[in-house]
């Protein structure tokens, strides 16, 4: 007899295991996994401790307890997306700097080549001439 609470509990547990496995196999960095671990923990507690969500819902004046789960889920999603925007901004800054450094480096390499080739030309000419 499988009901929604059992399903949610299994899902939360599976989710937690997947996040941990991703960190273990280094496909997810520890610093970016903390938010995910935190939310899987909360999901697990809420699903296992049936009375808790109802108590909180009552306290907050929410008539339909499961809708509390939705709001928590949505708020978490917002937080996570914002977190990613911050990360993307940082990556963007780093990306720009890398492109600039590559441009300047390439210019330097070109200049060095030119100097080097000119030196070689002079060297060759010296050997050619009697």
């Amino acid at each position: 007899m499988i009901n929604i609470f059992m399903f949610s509990a299994l899902f939360s547990l599976g989710f937690l295991v997947i996040v941990l496995e991703l960190v273990r196999s280094k496909r997810l960095k520890e610093q970016y996994s903390l938010l995910w671990l935190f939310i899987s923990g909360i999901m697990l507690i809420l699903t296992l401790w049936r009375g808790l969500i109802e108590k909180i819902a009552e306290r907050l004046g929410v008539y339909y307890a499961p809708s509390l789960l939705f709001i928590v889920g949505i708020l978490f999603s917002f937080a996570l997306i914002l977190h990613y925007s911050v990360i993307i901004s940082r990556l963007h800054t780093q990306n720009v700097r890398l492109a600039q450094e590559i441009g300047v480096l390439n210019k330097k390499v070109e200049d060095l080549y030119e100097t080097f080739n000119r030196g070689e030309e002079i060297e060759n000419n010296r050997f050619d001439s009697p």
Binding site: H92, T93, V96, A99, Q100, E101, I102, G103, V104, N106, K107
Partner: protein, 250 residues
Amino acid sequence: MQNGNNILLNQNKLLQDRKVLVIIPAFNEEKNLPGIIGRLREFAGIDIIVINDGSEDATPAVAREAGANVIDLPFNLGIGGAVQTGYLYAHKNNYDVAIQVDADGQHNPEDLMQIIEPVLRGEADMVLGSRYVAETGYKTPLFRKMGMVVFSTVVSLINRQPLKDTTSGYRAVSKRVIKFFVNNYPTDYPEVEALVLLKKSGFTIKEVPVTMAPREYGRSSITPVRSVYYMIKVLLALFMNLLRTHKREV
């Protein structure tokens, strides 16, 4: 004209032992570049670096042909990222003054000395070539003029110094500012914000009148939709600068 300038510059004591770099950000400007580079090369003792911002046309080849140094960016960074590359190059090669000149030929190289001189004399850390300080015969479309008045008013209030042509890309900066810009330069529509950034960090700004020619080839990158985004982005950036604490660099 050419000899006149050479003599003028050779005699100019201010330029002696000073390294001056002209930075030209260029994105698909193959038609405009030869003209502007040719005119800039009439000035003796000034280096030119073209920042090819991921152009798809012959911009880099044309620029090299015309006798400029070229830095090729691996992809398009936008005007701010491109100009900052120029400052990075200037800093790494120990330049004393860097001047930003637009590739589209609107900036007259004849005004170059007017813009550089106050920096060389140490009168200001940045000199802004302005179209509106004196009557210079440049006509601006009404819509753009409104935006410019707004920026000018806001920046003048924040900086407590009247500045007219805040969007002008024709500007010279000192060695200290070059170093500062390497790590502090807005990537998107940077001109206006840079003025507030500099002032808040303790640098001085001076505005001098320049003449401005209409664009030779191609069209400006500012479209109506972009100009709305431009206004909002710049005003937000200015507002954010008010909320930040700035380290005094000077």
